[in-house]
Symmetry: C2
Subunit: 153 residues, 2 copies
Amino acid sequence: MATDISKYRYNHTMYRIKDPKASLKFYTEILGMKLLDEHHSDESKFSLYFLGYEDPASEGLVRLARQGVLELTHNHGTENDPNVAYNTGNGENGGYGHIAITVDDLKAACARFDEFGVKFVKRPEEGRMKHIAFIADPDGYRVEILENPMLKA
Amino acid sequence: MATDISKYRYNHTMYRIKDPKASLKFYTEILGMKLLDEHHSDESKFSLYFLGYEDPASEGLVRLARQGVLELTHNHGTENDPNVAYNTGNGENGGYGHIAITVDDLKAACARFDEFGVKFVKRPEEGRMKHIAFIADPDGYRVEILENPMLKA
């Protein structure tokens, strides 16, 4: 019985969402992820949605062999429960911070987010860090938008 | 001004840690990640640590071009402040859940975690999901341990 830690991979990050319709629209239409896999449990009343970017490095890989996967957990019924508002980690004693998406062009990406009415936590021109923006997903989770100059056309 | 969402990538996940010594030991020695980059701000009194697995798909990529990076944020002084205990997202209204690491052999990986005295939230044999375990990092953040059968020797 042995384990080879050089084979370990960071597969995914999970957080809970209130309304899958709103979140799937945000992560696929607005941020461009693909829905890689989903799992629904009628018995335990939850659904899991696995999202990620298709890219040459992960083409052909099944979900478990990938890196860079986001798992969204929906506990059924929260979308109609006015008392459900998840702690997104950035309040008092908040531990969890954000995920980060690299984009080709920060300004153009932000202009497009505006077309979708996405809420900004920090626009590029605000504060000292001009090369990043923070937007909020439908639950308020922060998504850092980071320009990768190598992706610029 | 245009943006091509097919170029977007999921780069990293960030959370805050109390004590970088404990966390770096956990993520490098125990989980086998490499420290890819770090950034220290004396003025704003924080440090960022970027960790990830080296693998063929990401070899030669700079940190910004990668997927599967974990960013740990250390606000200086928290390691000696008994009042600092981060909300790890799994209490009441908890939104953030966990990261997941795929391993070659779940049983062997867990036996090795025991050698390091790692705290288990759920051992493989507990509950219905025998193919996964949950361990806790030094702050209590949950790390899912998931066997990828394709990695088995």
